[in-house]
């Protein structure tokens, strides 16, 4: 048997629809005060879920489908524009 006929191992294709709903883990919810937010982007890179992006007005916008509510974004915000609220 040559190498082209070797049996393949388990292969998983990336498909976001199959992902666990990590937004359901959250018990504290970060809320952006869009008036104070500078749009500096400090919170984008540190977010473990990469859940934060610009909205149409270049302010931080959080995707609550994937946000686990860790609160790192609130800690790094230079303007304290993100507050952690109880998840409702």
């Amino acid at each position: 048997m040559d190498w082209e006929n070797i049996e393949e191992g388990a292969i998983i294709e990336h498909d976001l629809k199959k992902s666990p709903r990590t937004g359901d883990w959250r018990y504290m919810k970060p809320q952006v005060d869009k008036k104070t937010c500078l749009g500096c982007g400090n919170c984008f890179d540190v977010c473990p879920e990469a859940a934060i992006d610009y909205d149409s007005e270049r302010k931080a916008d959080i995707d609550y489908d994937v946000c686990k509510g860790c609160g790192v974004c609130a800690t790094v915000c230079p303007k304290k524009a993100i507050t952690m609220m109880k998840n409702t």
Partner: protein, 303 residues
């Protein structure tokens, strides 16, 4: 979801809330435009990013066993070279092989395989995210655990103050393999990590990055604090940022007045026993070690 940041690793992975590993992966892989092949050995990143039937990886990814991250990367490098010889890959096209491994898979279990791959001068980048114990299995001590840390296998109590031994000096072991580039960095300094990843990707041959990765669950601190605690590790000189390039050492961040080591220790539950009576002695020893290590590093830079 941020489209730009999720080109390689998508959300939906199951790392703990407040874990820094995904930020390390995104920053490192975001530093290159070349196609990448990711190797990940058993560890936090592997179990959380490939939760069957879902894979958070959008790039070719291979899971290898705990001990053979280096060997798997060497094999991929060999395959790329063979395909190049047969003109299956265009000559000018660079393909980056990146290994992500935890400290258990690097300092301890994967060390011989890493050593072999470094010595054979394979073309790959090895990134070790160092959370200073086997966090994926509940926090057993590893070669990376600092002295005094309370872990599952070195519990602090009346007779013991946690881990008795000093951590392994992995950077010196790696540099002893005559590689071109090795750097120590920290997830709390993502700009520094990105700069070092960029430098590493531009080179050929083996390259190595050691990244400190505070663990919210078993360093025992609130989920929102990894950036602050990571910064504290560097500001106390516990985890200096430095690099080794072509025989020369360079410190990337320094302060004239480093904070006392207590400032770092008191942020974490794994060191809380050191703040009980008779803990001062261990803290003083740790401070002495940190000062000595820093002096050694400064001497290396000056040579």
């Amino acid at each position: 979801m941020n489209e730009k940041l999720t080109k390689h690793l998508a959300p939906g992975h199951s790392t703990c809330a407040g874990c820094g590993i995904p930020a390390i992966v995104r920053t490192v892989l975001g530093a290159t435009d070349d196609p990448v092949i990711v190797v990940s050995v058993t560890g936090c990143l592997e179990v959380t990013s490939t939760l069957y039937p879902y894979s958070a990886w959008k790039v070719p990814y291979i899971h290898s066993a705990f001990e053979n991250g280096g060997a798997t990367a060497a094999g991929i490098d060999g395959a790329i070279k063979a395909l190049r010889k047969r003109n299956k890959i265009p000559a000018g096209k660079k393909i980056q092989v990146v290994v992500f491994a935890g400290d258990g898979g690097t300092y301890d279990i994967g060390l011989q395989s890493l050593s072999g791959a470094l010595e054979r001068q394979h073309d790959f980048l090895y990134v070790c995210y160092d959370n200073e114990a086997y966090m994926n299995t509940g926090g057993q001590r590893s070669g990376a655990t600092p002295r005094g840390a309370d872990t599952e296998t070195t519990p602090a109590g009346k007779k013991s103050f946690g881990k008795l031994e000093k951590r392994k000096d992995l950077m010196s072991i790696v540099i002893a393999h005559h590689l071109k580039y090795a750097a120590q960095t920290n997830v709390a300094y993502l700009a520094d990590l990105k700069m070092k990843a960029k430098k590493a990707f531009a080179l050929d041959g083996p390259r190595f990055l050691l990244v400190l990765q505070p663990c919210t669950n078993l360093w025992k601190y609130p989920t929102s604090e990894y950036v602050r605690i990571g910064k504290m590790a560097t500001e106390t000189n516990f985890w200096p940022l430095w690099e080794y390039f072509d025989g020369k050492y360079k410190i990337n961040w320094a302060t004239e007045n480093p904070k006392p080591i207590e400032d770092f220790l008191k942020t974490q539950g794994r060191f809380k026993h050191l703040f009980r009576p008779s803990g001062e002695k261990v803290i003083a020893e740790m401070q002495k070690e940190v000062n000595e290590e820093w002096k050694r590093l400064v001497n290396l830079v000056q040579i």
